[in-house]
Amino acid sequence: MITAGIDCGSKNTKIVIFKDDNIVSTASVLSGFDQEEAATEVLSKALENAGLERGEIKNIVATGAGMDAISFADDKVTTITANAAGAHFLFPSVRTVIDIGAEEGRVLRVDENGKVKDFGINEKCAAGAGAFIEAMARALEVDIATMGELSLKSTKQIPMNAQCTIFAESEVVSLIHQKTLKEDIIRAVHDAIADRNTSMVRQIGIEQDVALIGGVANNIGFIDSMNRNFGFDLLVPKELIAPEYVSALGAAIIAKEKMGG
């Protein structure tokens, strides 16, 4: 049985096509201002990649901030539920999941069957999410894809006082004027956002294993900051699927379950 999960994120719309417990294809496009258009585009991209026809998809489930706008979805689930299903599929031992997207951070506890036990959402403040790292990359004039490896070169921990993305931009600029090394600044940026999200996890309690998903989990420097905060390594999807697709994967899995598969 072939199903699809579409995650309508605030920045990117992602899709996973799922067939007989295998990830067949993934695709991602910018969400832009027309969520339905983005979803349509990402669906045809993934179908093309997989060499499949639209009619072969038995069930499409939507999730994410913009899920209500998708008229062609057969069903919807909350991002939290999708996160749980996706993370559980990848790491059956997972009991705590941290999902950091472009505009929101989510933390959830799951049981051994991948069902949600408790959750918390850190929303509406850019400083807790990917938007923060993006803004800092702009202020530092550094390609966001290189932020991770640059920060791992840092040898010094410097404090970052600003807790707001806008003020942090000014702080970064004055740090540069004071000749602070970029890698030390980037490490401070990662540590700051890692601290914020670790606090949110402590609110629901930490139970191992802990998984880290969402686009920001591509950043190896950020992963390092998180691992240091926890004192152990977090599970991050890599070989099977990229971390930003886990919600869409969860939606596709739920799509299959709903069809009795």
């Binding site: 408790d118 959750f119 403040c125 609110q203």
Partner: protein, 95 residues
């Protein structure tokens, strides 16, 4: 005098209010807090006053949502340890 330490940002309002008229400088709240959010210091808002009062330390003021999160488990309306420890009831949390 009521000192409101904290902030409002996109995600909500987070203020710890310390009533310095009620505070008796006992310091029990400082000991009760596991995150070091509170400390005893000169009342900076009344520079001519000499008694020590409880304050939220400067490095926590802009992130108290995060500093206090571990004492506020989700789904429970627990009384935070600092509020419990204060006999005169000088401390209140807005969330």
């Amino acid at each position: 005098m009521k000192a409101n330490y904290g902030y409002k940002d996109g995600s909500g309002e987070y203020f710890i209010t310390i009533d310095t008229d009620l505070c008796n400088s006992c310091g029990k709240c400082v000991e009760a807090c596991p995150a070091g959010v509170l400390e005893l210091a000169e009342n900076e808002l009344d520079p001519l006053e000499e008694d020590l009062v409880a304050i939220v330390s400067e490095n926590h003021r802009k992130k108290i949502k995060y500093s206090c999160a571990p004492c506020k488990p989700s789904g429970e309306t627990k009384v935070p340890p600092c509020v419990k420890a204060c006999e005169p009831g000088a401390i209140t949390h807005s969330w």
